[in-house]
């Protein structure tokens, strides 16, 4: 005797199971962060990568600044920017202690 309900549930559950397994295999949870934290070479590599990223960002900023035309460069100079920017309000308690 064919059990249509049983077959339908089995088919739906197996399709769901397949896609969940695919997602879990693709995401490989638990594995990557733990392994990376354990291996000191990977930790040192990650730190070096971060430092190089920071240095590359600084170099990029200098390059952009130098490639600007003189007027724009003068406008973007830190001293001129400080003048154009509104002064931040002092904290009321700091102001009271200063007076």
């Amino acid at each position: 005797m064919t059990s249509h309900h049983g077959r339908l549930y089995a088919l739906a559950a197996s399709i769901l199971l397949f896609f969940v397994a695919w997602a879990v295999v693709a995401a490989h949870p638990w594995a990557a962060p733990e392994a990376a934290a354990r291996d000191p070479r990977l930790v040192a590599l990650a730190q070096r990568e971060q430092r190089l990223r920071n240095e590359a960002g600084l170099v990029q900023r200098v390059v952009v600044h130098r490639s600007q035309p003189p007027d724009a460069r003068r406008r973007n100079r830190p001293s001129s920017r400080r003048c154009s920017r509104p002064r931040p309000q002092r904290h009321p308690r700091a102001a009271a202690s200063a007076s």
Binding site: M1, T2, S3, H5, G6, R7, A10, L11, S14, L17, F18, F19, A21, W22, V24, V25, A26, H28, P29, W30, A31
Partner: protein, 183 residues
């Protein structure tokens, strides 16, 4: 440049799916035999048991096809048919191939039950335990995800549930047909 890992991911996911479906089919067969749940109709359980085995065979076919299409383990069509012909993890892959072929044989025997006789069909059905053991060994030894806690939990759960159901079947008192009262 890294190769597209889609086929490799599908191969791993379908392998795990096939294993879970095989386990479910074995459990359904044991439930059918020992009937721990009286509310279930035997005919419906038998049909679900067969259908789960068919779905498992489909997942195995997908597993093999995607392993052929993917270049990670370099399997040949011959390695998928002949046990032990795979250059990659020869014994565990061979066990997997053997389990798949036996599963096809047991599934085909459903249709040939009358031709081969119920007793022979029952004898052949005992091979299901060997299929389950071979599939477990294949997954544990050749599975890429076996070291992961979730995959290991799947294998442990499958072994535990099949062992418990088989023990229930062995130790539970045999079913007796309800007696008809004389009028």
């Amino acid at each position: 440049m890294r190769a597209d890992p889609t086929f490799w991911l599908i191969a791993r996911a379908s392998g795990l799916t096939a294993y879970v479906l095989l386990t479910a089919s074995v459990l359904a067969g044991l439930v059918l035999k020992s009937r721990p749940f009286r509310g279930l109709r035997p005919a419906a359980v038998a049909d679900t048991h067969r259908f789960l085995a068919l779905l498992g065979l489909g997942a195995i076919a997908l597993h093999g096809a995607t392993l052929l299409l993917d270049g990670t383990v370099h399997l040949t069509p011959v390695a998928l048919i002949a046990p032990g012909a795979s250059p990659y993890r020869r014994l565990p892959v061979g066990l997997g191939v053997l389990a798949a072929e036996l599963m096809v044989l047991v599934y085909v025997s459903f249709a040939l039950r009358r031709a081969i006789g119920t007793r022979n069909w029952r004898r052949l059905h005992w091979a299901t335990y060997a299929i389950f053991a071979a599939a477990t060994a294949h997954g544990l030894a050749a599975g890429t995800d076996t070291p992961q806690p979730w995959a290991f939990a799947i294998y442990l759960g499958a072994i535990g549930s099949v062992a418990a159901a088989a023990a229930w079947r062995s130790f539970a008192p045999p079913l007796t047909q309800p007696r008809r009262t004389a009028r």
